[in-house]
């Protein structure tokens, strides 16, 4: 029993680490999916001079950020995910096959197992920058 008491901090550390890893993968997968939703939406929207209208861009961004066309009062799909994290590359002008790309640039912030906070060293962290993206054919 005494042995367990000694090891409890380490056990908790392990537990925190595995939860954090899980959360990290979960976030990445969610962001990957969310870029697909945005790209799918934009793949059938009208272009004006090669760019999307402000409304369509806003709706697509909101779909990426919170999964709804309007974000007011909605939960973000990832913590602190913001419209500024979303990059939309419209198909542009010209004819023939064109593509739309939606990318999220998201700095992952660990919650439970924050090594840089625990150790005071910023190099030791899980603060990766995720850049999942989806490219789809412009269907019109």
């Amino acid at each position: 029993m005494l042995e367990f008491a000694f090891l409890l901090p380490f056990l908790l550390l392990f537990f925190a680490a595995s939860v954090e890893m899980g959360r990290m993968f979960y976030t990445y997968t969610t962001l990957t999916k969310t870029t697909e939703v945005g790209a799918r939406y934009l793949s059938t929207k009208f272009l004006s001079a090669g760019a999307y209208s402000g409304t369509d861009t806003t709706v697509a961004t909101n779909l990426v950020v919170c999964g709804r066309s309007a974000c007011t009062g909605q939960t973000r799909v990832a913590q602190n995910l913001d419209a500024a994290n979303v990059t939309i590359t419209p198909p542009g002008t010209g004819t023939g096959t064109r593509y739309v790309t939606v990318q999220v640039t998201y700095a992952y912030q660990p919650l439970l197992f924050n090594l840089s906070n625990l150790t005071g060293r910023s190099g030791l962290s899980l603060n990766f920058t995720f850049t999942p993206s989806t490219r789809m054919r412009y269907l019109l």
Binding site: E3, F4, L7, L11, F14, A17, S18, M21, G22, F25, Y26, Y28, T29, T32, K33, T35, E36, A39, R40, S43, T44, F46, L47, S48, G94, T95, G96, T97, Y99, F128, T129, F130, T131, P132, S133, T134, R135, M136, R137, L139, L140
Partner: protein
Amino acid sequence: MTAVLMVGLVLVIGLSIDVSRLYMARAGLQNAADAAALAAARELNSGTSGLADAVTQAMSANLINKYGFNRTGVTAPTVTIVKVEFSNSLAANATWYDNTNGNTVPAGVEASIRYVRVTTQLAVVNTLFAGRVLGANRNEQRTAIAGASVGLTTVCNFFPIAVSLTNPYPANGEQLTFTFTNVSGSTVTLVNNGYVVLQIPEIPGTGLPETAKLAAGITSMSASIGSSLVASQSANGSNGTRAIADGANLRFDIPANGYGNDLNATNYPPDSNTAQPLSSTQYLNRSPFTPPPINPPGQDDRRVLVMPILPTGTYSTSAIPTVRFGAFLLRSQVPRTGATAGNLSVAYLGDSFPIGCGSFDPTAGGGSTLSKPVLYK
């Protein structure tokens, strides 16, 4: 005691990380497969050219999607599509024709192809911790099926003329000649095969260049079945036919003179096949094939005219009803002058012709056989 348990604990953590990585790779692969399937389904046109184009589009090197951890400093692997198959059914026992290395769809069956299935490469995900349970590495492969949607009730980017047909359901490939109908008063009488030019809000103005632009094919507009459209007064008998011909003939790479530089091949490209006259089967199978002489390579489906169809009768020019939409092939160039000026020689392109966009409203009456590409599973 705890030390023994610790071994198990570490193993469990290892397993969870490995499984997480697996699902992450799967999500990336599925994304890429979905994108490729949609890109391919856009090309399906009931002909062999559509099948060939669909394979090209699905495997296009420009459709770059990656899977796995796209972390800064680490290059995530690119997804490639290794198999493209076609079918006319989604039933469990449906036959899928593998067209990856050439057409295997039997002659005649291509007209009924509605679905395309793409398969990604076998992505090898190395197991980091739980090799005993999961194996040294896992091969992940995802598929996606896309195909024609239900018949659309709102259709976009249609050819802005309304044609009147006694039989609103022509047979597949049926060849028709649509004749120009002058609009002058507050009503217009449409006989069988007569057409009126429509006025759409996207091109204000009623002059010769506006009519020519309409015929050249403008984008970013739509109309629903059940709504009413407005007949254009601009296309009067003396010059309307000429404007229609000038605009429509851009699809055959015939330059339109006298419109400034408004009607250029950049905005209104020619079709990739300018051979004429063509039957619908010849067009869909791209045989015979003549590339545009001046502005190659042109664009597919420019000679496909989606237009509203309505019954014969007398209508108010401000309320031309939209009863259904049909897709027609422009068989040959439109005469500019003479008794046949403005006559559109077309062939009905049949059911389930996919266009890029539109939507379906289950409460709307009627329906069309036009569809758009959607994901199935």
